[in-house]
Each structure stands twice: as structure tokens, then as C-alpha cells.
């Protein structure tokens, strides 16, 4: 099993969710996050005061999947979150040791 974590542009969230659903991913977790990468921040001006905003808002999408789906999932995220501009985000892949469904106590791939 794999845990796929993608940092994407906030307005791409719906497209990514649809793409993942379409290939059979049954659940994702979404968090609003801030961070910086190669995309530069912006400046904000309040009367005379100018502030550089370094941390930009992003959305973190996490999905636990069967290992054999990995290629498909990565491709779906890449396609749906892509705008071609700096700041589209990244995908991180981790090995996932165990999954437990709390209601039934099922474990492993059955719990996904």
C-alpha cells in the first residue's frame, strides 16, 4: 500500500478530486496549508506599509491506495493539477505499513 500526498493549487482541488474518483480512489483527506517553493510570494500594500507575503496558500491532498494503483493515481494528479506554471505543487509517495478501518476492525488492503 502507498500513501500519496499531493500539494496543489487550491483552485485545482475539485478537478483533482474528480480525477481520483474516476480511477477508483475511494477516499481522500484535504488540508489547507501554507508554504513556499520556487513560486515567489507577493507584496501587499496597506497605506504606507508594504509587506512581502512569503507563504502562499496551498491544498494538501492525501490518499491511501493499493500499490498497483500508484502509476494511475500519480498520472491522474499530474494531469488534473497541471497549469504549466510555477507553483503547481508536488506529489510525495510513501510506503504505507498498515491501514485499519475503525468501525469493523478490517485491516490492510480491505480497509482502503
Amino acid at each position: 500500500m502507498k500513501l500519496v500526498t499531493a500539494i496543489i493549487k487550491p483552485f485545482k482541488l475539485d478537478e483533482v478530486r474528480e480525477a481520483l474518483s474516476a480511477i477508483g480512489v475511494t477516499g481522500i483527506t484535504v488540508t489547507e496549508v501554507k508554504g513556499f517553493g520556487r513560486q515567489k510570494g507577493h507584496t501587499e500594500l496597506y497605506r504606507g506599509a508594504e509587506y512581502v507575503v512569503d507563504f502562499l496558500p496551498k491544498v494538501k491532498v492525501e490518499a491511501a491506495i493499493k500499490s498497483e494503483m500508484l502509476e494511475q493515481v500519480i498520472e491522474a494528479i499530474e494531469k488534473s493539477a497541471n497549469t504549466g506554471k510555477i507553483g503547481d505543487g508536488k506529489v510525495f509517495v510513501f510506503d504505507l505499513e498498515q491501514v485499519i478501518r475503525i468501525r469493523t476492525g478490517e485491516t490492510g488492503a480491505e480497509a482502503l
Binding site: E44, L45, Y46, R47, G48, A49, Y51, V53
Partner: protein, 514 residues
């Protein structure tokens, strides 16, 4: 525990002091007007005629044949409405305007400072503020400060006879219930004190604010308002021979012929300079210039600015004291100049800073309102166009170039907007009051109603002198008041308190959860 008792006894002592000194005087003052009335005709114009209202009583005694004029119900209704509109300008309008501009950890502290300052000044106004401002003083200080005849508003209402005392307006035989005038002016005193807060927010102790306010209100607001606005009223000018004597009873700047329709000097320069002095004396916020101090909620700031605009109709048009043409002129000028300033600030910002911002538009509105305040009923429509357009540009500079030069952390730009806008408005009032520029001019002889406007240059100099007097007066008083507050309780909270925020530490609550 001991600290709590010390605080408790201190506040009790304060209340007892006010009560003890006040009460006997109330009784005295209440008896006085009735006793004075028959003798009033004899005493005539030589001296000891405290309030404008009393002047009317005298006339009554002199000419019993004509019944005394009664207030016009339209005027009363408009002035009661205006008073409530001006209250709205402080709470919630100014509180929201300021509150949105600070960081979320200090939101409630700003709301509290405005809310409580407003209440505190209202109470002080009714105890001694009104009396010291709008009654005639005695001796050498009479052109600077009034007397104690209206302590605790004594003599404004006689429950036995069911009689109300009258205040003067700007028309002969057109009195207004003095209590309405008291309330209207109370809201002015209170908002002026609240305005100062913008310079020192996010880093000042609540207790220090209260101490400062009591001192500054007493020694700066009251004398300045008396100097600019106190006069015996039009009905006192009963003959050509008494004109000079009546003029001599007025406040110093009134005597000079300085024009201030609704408070360019009294309210905005007075508060704006006190704010700047505060920014210097209290010092910069920790992290100023290094950390981002972005406004936490410009939506609130926009709501606040809009409510200020709305309430300002009461402030400016209400300052006509009647529901008449002067009020109509003030209303239109207030409306128009503000819109002009929104546009000029916004375009100025767009041009020089790259983007037209919401905060810029809201700030432009306030700058325009401030600048048109002394001018409202004193200039024609052309004056409103020029004053509004100039205010947006000048105050934009006040918050940028000038602010950098001054080097103070005037957190919410009270000096850049209020003092600078007030000075601009006060000076341009002198220019656009001219009948040759579409202004109404003003009478200087209230018996023959001779026009008092002589020349643009002449009036400009009078206005500049008035600005100078108020500027220096409030700066000195503010400096001393901050120092006294510093000695008494300390102006600033500890560094930890300031970093964590005043809401949690000073007030024990937070504005937002989750």
C-alpha cells in the same frame, strides 16, 4: 488581592470625590438661575451672564409683551436624530474601522478602548465638560474656558415648573432645548477622544488610556472647544451698542473670526496631534518595520468607514443646529467631498503604488470627511469639490511620505488622516468661504448682520493662526497627559503581553475562535 483592593479603593475614592465636590454645587447652581432672573435686567450686559440660555431670560424680563420663542419641532427632531447619528460614528463605526486595521490578537482591545472611552467622556461631559465648554467663564480666562454654572447639567430642566432651558442656534429667535445641545456636543467630545486611540493601539495599557483620556479631555478638548465654539448666541446681540461687549464674551478663536463649522480644529487637529504625540511618547510596536502588521479584517474597516460616512451627516449637517438651508449645504458638501476624496486617493494610489486598494478607498472617504468638516456649511459646492479632491491626495501623502519623515509608529495614521486633513480643511475653509468663490461668507456683527469676510488672504491667516494655537495647545497637553499616565500606571504592557496580544492579557477574552 491587595492589588485588587488598591484598585477598588482608588476607584471608590474617585467617585466619592466627584460626588462630594459635585453635589453641593448642583444644588447651588440649580437655585441660582431662578434667583438671578428678576435681577437679570438690571445686571444687563456688564458681566455674569453665563449661558446663552440666560441671555434669553434677560430679554424676556426686558420685554414681557412678546412671548419667548419656543424651539421649532423640526429643528428638535433633526438635532435629536443628528445626535444619534454622531453616536453611531464612534460605536460601532470608528471601533470597526480601527478594529479591522489591527492584528486579530488586539481586536477586542481596540473595540474596548473606543467603547469605554466613549462612555467615560460622555459621563465627564455631563459632570463638568459641558459647563466648562459652553458657559461663560469669568475674568482673564473667560476666552479660554467656561464656568461651573452647568455642573451636572444643573439648570437645564426645572421639574417643578416643567421648564427646559434653551441653547442658542445661528438664527435669532430660534432656540433649541439646551439638553439637546448638551447631548449633541457630548458625542463630539467623546468621538474626539476616541480618534486619538488609533495612534497608540496594539501596545498601550487599558488603564493608561483611561487616565490619559481624563486629563486630555479636561485640559485640551474643553478649552479648545470653548475657544472655537463658545459665543453668546445671536439673540444676545440686542443693540449695536452691545456688539463689542457680547463679542468679548466669546471664545478666543471665535473672537478672531476663525471658522470651524463642525470641528476641523476642535475635533480633528486636536485629536490628530495628540495621537502623533502619543505615537512618539508610547513608542513603536515591538517588531514595527520588521514584522508584518497587516490589517486582520478589511471588511470590518470598510463597514466602519461606510458607517462613518453615514453618521457624519449628523456631525456636519447637524452642526447647523437647525433643519435649514445651512444644514442642506453642509449635507451636500459632506456627501460630495467624501466621494471626491475616495476617487482622488484611489487614483493616486493606483498611479503611484500600482493598485487601487479597498483600504485606500476607505481611507480616502475618511480623509474627505475630515477635510470637509470645518468647511461643511461654510463653503459652496465648488469648495466641496476642491477640498474633497485635495484631501485624498494630501492624506495619501500623509500616510506615506510624511509618515516616513516623522518616523513615528502612528499605527492607524491618525495624524496623516485627521490632523493633516483637518489642517487642509481648516485652511481651505478660509479660502472657499469667500462669496467670490461660491461660499456663503459669515456675519461678524450679529446685530446688523454685516458680512465678516474681508479677503481670502486675511481669512486664510486667521485660519492658520487658529490651526497653530490648537496644534500647540493639544501637543503640550497630550505630552503632559501621557507622562502622567506613564508615572501613574505605565503606558506599556510587558513585552510578553504585547506579543501575545492585548485581548487575552488585558481583557481575558479573544475576538475569534476556531
Amino acid at each position: 488581592m491587595t492589588r485588587f483592593f488598591r484598585k477598588l479603593t482608588a476607584s471608590l475614592a474617585l467617585f466619592c470625590m466627584l460626588g462630594l465636590t459635585g453635589m453641593p454645587l448642583v444644588a447651588l447652581a440649580q437655585d441660582k438661575p431662578a434667583a438671578d432672573a428678576p435681577a437679570a435686567a438690571k445686571a444687563d450686559d456688564k458681566k455674569a451672564a453665563p449661558a446663552a440660555a440666560k441671555e434669553e431670560k434677560k430679554e424676556e424680563a426686558k420685554a414681557p409683551a412678546t412671548p419667548p420663542p419656543t424651539p421649532n419641532k423640526g429643528d428638535v427632531a433633526w438635532m435629536l436624530t443628528s445626535t444619534a447619528l454622531v453616536l453611531l460614528m464612534s460605536v460601532p463605526a470608528l471601533a470597526l474601522f480601527y478594529g479591522g486595521l489591527v492584528r486579530s490578537k488586539n481586536m477586542l482591545s481596540v473595540l474596548m478602548q473606543v467603547f469605554v472611552t466613549f462612555s467615560l467622556i460622555t459621563v465627564l461631559w455631563c459632570i463638568y465638560g459641558y459647563s466648562l465648554t459652553f458657559t461663560e467663564g469669568s475674568g482673564a480666562t473667560s476666552s479660554f474656558i467656561g464656568g461651573f454654572d452647568r455642573l451636572f447639567l444643573a439648570g437645564t430642566f426645572d421639574p417643578l415648573k416643567g421648564e427646559f432651558s434653551m441653547a442658542a442656534t445661528f438664527s435669532k429667535n430660534t432656540p433649541l432645548y439646551e439638553l439637546v445641545y448638551v447631548a449633541f456636543q457630548a458625542t463630539f467630545a467623546a468621538i474626539t477622544c476616541c480618534l486619538i486611540l488609533g495612534s497608540i493601539v496594539e501596545r498601550v495599557k487599558f488603564s493608561a488610556v483611561l487616565i490619559f483620556m481624563v486629563i486630555w479631555f479636561t485640559f485640551s478638548y474643553l478649552p479648545v472647544a470653548h475657544m472655537v465654539w463658545f459665543w453668546p448666541g445671536p439673540d444676545a446681540y440686542t443693540a449695536a451698542s452691545v456688539v463689542d461687549a457680547q463679542n468679548a464674551k466669546a471664545g478666543l478663536l471665535w473672537q478672531w473670526g476663525a471658522l470651524d463649522f463642525a470641528g476641523g480644529t476642535v475635533v480633528h487637529i486636536n485629536a490628530g496631534v495628540a495621537g502623533l504625540v502619543g505615537a512618539y511618547v508610547v513608542g513603536k510596536r515591538i517588531g514595527y518595520g520588521r514584522e508584518a502588521m497587516s490589517p486582520h479584517n478589511l471588511t470590518m474597516t470598510m463597514i466602519g468607514a461606510s458607517l462613518l460616512w453615514f453618521g457624519w451627516f449628523g456631525f456636519n449637517a447637524g452642526s447647523a443646529l437647525e433643519a435649514n438651508g445651512s444644514a442642506a449645504l453642509a449635507f451636500m458638501n459632506t456627501y460630495l467631498a467624501t466621494a471626491c476624496a475616495v476617487l482622488s486617493w484611489m487614483f493616486g494610489e493606483w498611479l503611484f503604488k500600482g493598485k487601487p486598494s479597498m483600504l485606500g478607498a476607505a481611507s480616502g472617504a475618511v480623509a474627505g470627511l475630515v477635510a470637509i468638516t470645518p468647511a461643511a456649511g461654510n463653503v459652496g459646492i465648488s469648495g466641496a469639490f476642491v477640498i474633497g479632491l485635495a484631501a485624498g491626495i494630501v492624506c495619501l501623502w500623509g500616510c506615506n511620505g510624511l509618515k516616513k519623515m516623522l518616523g513615528a509608529d502612528d499605527a492607524l495614521d491618525v495624524f496623516g488622516v485627521h490632523a493633516l486633513g483637518g489642517i487642509l480643511g481648516a485652511l481651505l475653509t478660509g479660502v472657499f468661504n469667500s462669496p467670490s468663490l461660491g461660499g456663503p461668507g459669515f456675519p461678524n456683527n450679529w446685530f446688523e448682520m454685516k458680512p465678516g469676510y474681508e479677503s481670502i488672504m486675511g481669512q486664510l491667516i486667521i485660519q492658520a493662526k487658529a490651526v497653530g494655537v490648537v496644534f500647540i495647545w493639544t501637543a503640550v497637553v497630550a505630552f503632559i497627559a501621557y507622562k502622567i499616565a506613564d508615572l501613574a500606571v505605565g503606558l506599556r504592557p510587558s513585552e510578553e503581553v504585547e506579543r501575545e496580544g492585548l485581548d487575552i492579557n488585558e481583557h481575558g477574552e479573544s475576538a475569534y475562535h476556531g
